[in-house]
Symmetry: C2
Subunit: 197 residues, 2 copies
DNA sequence: GACTTGACTACACGGTCGTGTAGCTGTCTA
DNA sequence: TAGACAGCTACACGACCGTGTAGTCAAGTC
């Protein structure tokens, strides 16, 4: 159980794990303490309160994710990263952040807004056709995050583990199929734009 | 506060509202009772337990949603419904069901699997190009539901209320823009299919 | 008018929650 | 070697949770 990590790090990892699995309210301090192999008092000693523990997890997940994607850019160059945001290594962190956001995290909410703004600029400079770049990016972002929120359902439906290379590859291929062909004909699109019933 | 409804119906509506807003664990029997204007004991009298109340809400939301979409098909014909699944009137029910699914509802999970299967058949008969219809449908479904789960973030990002006609129309237009143009060139798609890094 | 029944309330129960507090360790330092 | 001080535990606290129980009240039945 990662005995080489400090107790503080083990608490943080256990909290991220249980917060992700059960939500913030669903995971108790005592459960997290047991998972980390420490007493519940130690959590209070290190983090002060449950809310402060959550914020520490938020900030850690955000910073670690930034660090990982920076490393990825250094390795692969900027252009391949947009799709590769969904990558196995940062998957647990992303999943945690989305869950935390749903449970009211301001850190995660700020990250969401930032992602939308980035996507908006990307769309403008990459030839996306729309007269509402903001809505385009927001909807794309929300759809992308849906994979994290509904990971359990997705895995059950496809009988895979997304965190494995095979599962992740299958997911990527589905994304590619979806985003490399239009689902609506120009006529259908024009009709829907006029009368969105 | 809908005084014309029976107490049982008011409890159910209040439960759906609070379960949606706070999650199943986050909404207490006492809160629901206060919201419905009854005593907490009455909830037990009518539904037996919190879990049974949740199942009653699940079944009600599912049946009501089916009923609404059947009415929509009768009005508009079958073909326009696939996109119109995202419609203002069934929005709260969908949002509730997705939230309940995330909190472990079997009824909602079954509905999800059913939706994936339906989407799979739709893709096969509507010229979608993929060699994995199942994954295609599952990912599309998950992305579609992302709108419900992350509704709060979406509304904050766009400064709209999705339940209004204007907000819903803006959302629909973004969907149309996204699904009427390919985001990847055939070359990019081929590359990603070979090496999903 | 006596009886039954279902809607409904008031209140008490054990359990779990986040938090508070007191005290025990080992290590470092003056 | 005495003292300071993190790291850490044990335990008690008030609050709130889902649930259980007893009882009130009005409407319907015979």
């Amino acid at each position: 159980m990662n005995d080489d990590l400090t107790a503080r790090a083990r608490i943080r990892d256990a909290a991220i794990k249980l917060f992700t699995e059960r939500g913030i309210e669903g995971a108790s301090i005592r459960d997290i303490a047991t998972e980390a192999g420490v007493s519940s008092g130690l959590i209070r000693h290190h983090f002060g309160s449950k809310e402060a523990l959550r914020e520490a997890c938020d900030n850690y997940a955000r910073d670690r994710m930034f660090q990982l994607s920076r490393e990825l850019i250094d390795e692969q160059g900027l252009e391949n990263v947009s799709i590769a945001t969904v990558q196995p290594v940062s998957f647990p962190l992303q999943t945690y952040l989305v869950r935390s956001m749903m449970d009211g995290s301001e850190t995660a909410a700020a990250l969401f807004q930032q992602t939308v703004e980035y996507g908006e600029e990307w769309a403008k400079t990459h030839g996306v056709v729309t007269d509402d770049f903001r809505a385009w990016s927001a909807v794309i972002t929300v759809m992308k995050l849906g994979v994290f929120v509904l990971r359990d359902q997705l895995e059950q439906s496809l009988d895979i583990d997304i965190s494995t290379a095979d599962g992740y590859a299958r997911l990527t291929r589905a994304f590619v199929d979806i985003f490399s062909q239009p689902l609506l004909t120009p006529e259908q699109a024009a009709n829907l734009r006029k009368d969105p019933s």
